[in-house]
């Protein structure tokens, strides 16, 4: 049967046959790098189109429908436009940092791809502290935003960057705590191990009340961490024109734009892995026949299906709720999400010790 893990091991064996282990490793790294960049490009195109379609349908509009059949080539045309646009650097800016910032944002998003389990036995880096690695590296992305805001030498950019910094630093706490609930339940930090622990049911079902609370808090916190509406204070078109990327144009702007969508994909992939079982098919306890039928659907389809469901959920938030004010934003985090998730951690510890999960 053709699967991602089969292809990966075939390529690995072939490379080891034709060249020395060091060169095989180098070639594998190159292949991984190219395929990650390819995945980025495809995801960028697909997610931008998806966002515009979802937004349109939720606002009783049609959305892009002119370029190509059903408007499918719209984001390709947008990319072409951004590629040929001039990437300007404003006069009074810190040119080195200004040009570095989009790449920092992009590299942080790229590093986050490493521990995600895309299909069964198909992972770039099976690191045993996967979840901790993700929450560590995701804190790098704020640096890119802060750098862009400072280097632009623009009041709007600076304010956007400061808001974004305060927001990401505070929402990281409740995102981390809600991730911890699943770590406590499964007893593992590696993403693949967490997926394997959901063989007889996903954690959102097995962990019942605490897992559901954690899932809701996780979705709210990651929406804030990726700077998307209703938490898009860092961009806030109506107040700050475009926040930290006001001064960016052309491909440099496109990199920020792409990094935002890649971050959305990654946090949804993490959410799908932790709460919805990652690539694990939908299994109900010991129902052999039903589980067997579900196993026929390839694991990569399960993974991408769940991830895109969560992405749709985040888009649904974006096109439904109005933007929060900065004090409301911080109130929500420090007075509601953080106390509730701390209480939830205690609850889930009791559940895990007493083995009350299914």
């Amino acid at each position: 049967m053709l699967s991602f893990s089969q292809i990966a091991s075939d390529v690995d064996q072939w490379l080891h046959k034709v060249c020395s282990p060091t060169w095989a490793l180098v070639f594998e790294m190159v292949i991984i790098g190219v395929s990650v960049i390819g995945l980025f490009a495809v995801l960028g195109l697909v997610l931008v189109l998806m966002e515009r379609r979802v937004a349109a349908w939720m606002q009783i509009r049609l959305g892009p429908n002119r370029v190509g059949p059903q408007g499918l080539l719209q984001s390709l045309a947008d990319t072409l436009k951004l590629l040929v646009k001039e990437g300007m650097t404003p006069g009074g800016s810190d040119k080195f940092l200004f040009n570095l910032a989009p790449f920092i944002a992009m590299i942080a998003a790229m590093l986050l791809m490493a521990p995600i389990a895309f299909a069964s036995n198909f992972q770039i880096w099976n690191i045993n502290i996967g979840v901790l690695y993700v929450s560590a590296v995701s804190s790098l992305s704020v640096i890119g935003i802060l750098m862009a805001g400072w280097a632009s030498n623009n009041k709007y950019s600076l304010m956007g960057a400061m808001r974004s910094g305060a927001q990401i630093v505070s929402y990281e706490l409740s995102a981390g705590l809600s991730i911890l609930t699943i770590v406590v339940l499964s007893g593992n930090l590696g993403l693949n191990d967490i997926v394997l622990s959901q063989k007889d049911g996903w954690w959102i079902f097995k962990g019942h009340i605490p897992a559901i609370i954690a899932f809701i808090i996780f979705m709210i916190a990651v929406t804030a961490e990726t700077n998307r509406a209703p938490f898009d204070l860092a961009e806030a078109e109506s107040e700050l024109t475009a926040g930290f990327h006001t001064e960016y144009s052309g491909m440099k702007f496109a990199l920020f734009f792409l990094a935002e969508y890649i971050n959305v994909f990654i946090v949804c992939a993490i959410g799908a892995t932790l709460f919805l079982g990652g690539w694990m098919p939908f299994h109900i306890g010991n129902l052999e026949g039903f589980n067997h039928v579900m196993d026929y659907i390839p694991s990569s389809i399960w993974f991408f299906g769940k991830t895109f469901f969560l992405i749709f959920l985040i888009m649904w938030f974006r096109w439904t709720f109005p933007r929060l004010r900065i004090d409301q934003l911080l109130n929500l985090e420090w007075k509601y999400l953080l106390p509730i998730s701390m209480f939830n951690i205690i609850l889930v510890t009791v559940v895990a010790i007493m083995k009350w999960y299914f």
Partner: protein, 172 residues
């Protein structure tokens, strides 16, 4: 020279080079960014040594916490494009003296340290072992230092709140 050594030298060059740039640049924000790269280089070295947990904690604490705080304080106190004045001669001399003394101390210690080999198998540095060791009350366990550090942090937190607390105006 194999690939691993090459990677080590790249990481070491990144750490030292950006550390040097952090203290020589005249623009304070760039200084913070170079410090960030230096700390990331150290995290890279931990990854290179397969100490994944320490590396991730290095990134969380230093990159996600301390550098962001430094950047925030720069945002609140400086302007873009401002250059710092270069330090006076006496300061430079004292700094050079301090660096020399520190380097000499470390080199002497390194020179005198007896690197004795051990036949014991290394403990696997995974999270399970780290957690067990951190909270163990046996000989060599870290439960007491861990708790003492947490009391220190609690005191710091309370202190912060006391400083930031707005005293209620007297209603007479």
């Amino acid at each position: 020279m194999d690939g691993s050594t090459i990677i080590f030298y790249i990481l070491a060059a990144l750490t030292l080079g950006s550390g040097l740039l952090a203290v020589t640049t005249r623009q304070i924000f760039r200084s913070a960014i170079y410090l960030l790269f230096s700390l990331i280089g150290i995290a890279g070295l931990y990854f290179w040594m397969n100490y994944d947990f320490i590396a991730a904690v290095q990134i969380v604490v230093y990159v996600g916490g301390i550098v962001v705080l430094i950047i925030f304080s720069i945002f609140l106190t400086h302007q873009t494009g401002e250059k710092l004045p270069s330090p006076t001669l006496s300061r430079q001399l004292f700094a050079a003296l301090a660096v020399f003394c520190g380097a000499a101390l470390i080199l002497v210690q390194l020179y005198h340290f007896q690197y004795t080999g051990t036949t014991e198998t290394a403990l696997e540095p995974n999270v399970n072992n780290i957690g067990m060791q951190m909270l163990s009350t046996d000989v060599g366990g870290y439960a007491l230092p861990f708790e003492v550090v947490s009391i220190l942090l609690l005191a710091a937190l309370v202190g912060c709140i006391v400083i930031a607390l707005r005293t209620k105006p007297q209603t007479n």
